[in-house]
Symmetry: none
Subunit: 196 residues, 4 copies
Amino acid sequence: MKVADKHKKIVDAAIRVFAKNGFFNSRISEIAQEAKVADGTIYLYFNNKYDILITIFEEEMGKIIARAKQEIAAHEDPRDQLTRFAYLHLSLVEKNRDLAEVIQVELRQSSKFMKEYRNKKFAEYTNIISDIVYRGQEQGIFKKDISPGIFKRAFFGALDEMSRFWILSPKKKYSVVKAASQISNYYLNGIVTDGS
Amino acid sequence: MKVADKHKKIVDAAIRVFAKNGFFNSRISEIAQEAKVADGTIYLYFNNKYDILITIFEEEMGKIIARAKQEIAAHEDPRDQLTRFAYLHLSLVEKNRDLAEVIQVELRQSSKFMKEYRNKKFAEYTNIISDIVYRGQEQGIFKKDISPGIFKRAFFGALDEMSRFWILSPKKKYSVVKAASQISNYYLNGIVTDGS
Amino acid sequence: MKVADKHKKIVDAAIRVFAKNGFFNSRISEIAQEAKVADGTIYLYFNNKYDILITIFEEEMGKIIARAKQEIAAHEDPRDQLTRFAYLHLSLVEKNRDLAEVIQVELRQSSKFMKEYRNKKFAEYTNIISDIVYRGQEQGIFKKDISPGIFKRAFFGALDEMSRFWILSPKKKYSVVKAASQISNYYLNGIVTDGS
Amino acid sequence: MKVADKHKKIVDAAIRVFAKNGFFNSRISEIAQEAKVADGTIYLYFNNKYDILITIFEEEMGKIIARAKQEIAAHEDPRDQLTRFAYLHLSLVEKNRDLAEVIQVELRQSSKFMKEYRNKKFAEYTNIISDIVYRGQEQGIFKKDISPGIFKRAFFGALDEMSRFWILSPKKKYSVVKAASQISNYYLNGIVTDGS
DNA sequence: GATGAATGAGTCTTCATTCAT
DNA sequence: GATGAATGAAGACTCATTCAT
């Protein structure tokens, strides 16, 4: 088996285990079992338990960011871009529940994760939103008095809270499409200039 | 010292300690030290470590909810109510950083907190938002096609994400007033009926 | 309430609690509750938890020994005395289950009880048996080659094991009378001289 | 080191430590030290402290029972069998003081051991005695009116009490041979039919 | 590289005992 | 004398990490 495969097996197992138990309630031995490797093998690929968490975040967020940027690039209009972003975010959450839960849960383990570890990936992701706003403002489509820094947090927060609801609810109440369109619309109506 | 005082001392100490270290990285002995009581004393007031967390949440959320409802009741117009809610939420976060961090961090420790423990207090808080929306729709002020269930999550999420930003940032970048008004406005513009 | 009453209340409560849980699994607070006194009150009457156990043993064994000696004195023939002793022992066990259990269980907590604490009361009790044997040997009724030291242990052990069986069994299988007479007979037939 | 070896090392250490301190006053760390393993290693072989005790009992009683049955089978006459049983029991106690003390002390920790844990091994051991009696009665060697259920307890109790005496006494007063023969004789004379 | 048995530091919790009221 | 809230020492048990094989 190639090295990359074992690394991936462990990461995938960790995502499932962390999602099920949370980081602190997860055991290295359970991850090992889930990945079908020995406990000690994990330490050939990761420095420690926390390193697995960081790796999950770095690698998976990297993929998501790439995917999001690519998606955004396929659209011209900042309004479409925002709508697409919302839809993509919620779709990914729906399709990758475990990963979404890990990122959500651990992203909020503020102490270690958000404070000590400078969260560049996370900023990069939300900056996709503020970049759309900047461009929209330049194009005169979005109001100038919108603060992109506040907007990105509000918009991301809205999507994120919706995600949490789905992650925690046994059965989904709203469709991704409906949620994404509603949320985009709240914001779009609120920020577009009168003339647009 | 009255019993109530010691309970409060422990809760207050726990809020500080949990905020600093996170729940899992906090030690009962540290809470005891911070509260200036013996380790064992904590167990006269709480069943276990987790019970302290639950109690913090129940008690403090209870106060916040009461406060929020009172504040909302002082206004007639649903638009004002939403704006007030946003301002109040962010103000409370600013004034009670430690508590806000505990609620945010641990509220998201999904496993135990959000799944096992049926989170009525949290729902009660966000339902204040959806209630405002319902009333606004009845009065013809808010669009009928707004889903209050989605809206409350989006609106709360926006405020919550803003809060997290403040909690985690060493220095605050935006004023409470500005953030609250921007966020309220995004949404208000997005949901009011054309005639309003 | 007189001092003696409170002492007795605590001892009686301790007998019940120790019988139910065993010494090590019994809590001072449970004894206090059972005795309807405050935890601290117990320490006005006893030095520590272990002291309660010792006291139970000393006081209750004292009563039992007095009772047994009186009973034995009422009979002349060593054979009757042995039979009476057996019957009395088993009757007492039957009538004072809790006490019997405490004495049995804790009497066997060898370490502290039998080693450190010189168990005079216990010796005094079993010496009633060997004294009967001595007298029987002097009177030519019991064989000279019987070792009273071994006999007292064997005879007591037989009764004691029978007691344990009753203490541990939910329902009693053999009557006291039958057990006492059978056990006495095994021994009597074995130790009386041919001429008797 | 083979797994079996470490299991045995821990059991042997526990026997020594339990014998010295009693179960409740023994510390896992002391057993670990005595066995020359880490504290945690014990939990690779046993579920908890109590499990060690159960294991000691199960394993060692298993050996003793096998040994006793084998010994008994080597004799035809029920009288010889009883005598051999008594001698074997007392010999084993003499040769395995620590084990004997653990079994005696803890066997009597009635609560957990005798009540909750259905004590099959112990019954199996004493049933060797009643089986001898049955056979003796069938062969017309023992009186028909002897209750094997009472007899086995009386006989075992006599041996057991003798054992306790030795366990607790610093120096042994009676020889095994003498004690075994005296005890056997008390009983044999008491239960054999007149014709035998 | 892979294993998994072994390690031992670390912590929650219990509960006998004290002592201010 | 009586109370019971407070104490804090003590210990069973867990589990991330190591390392000999």
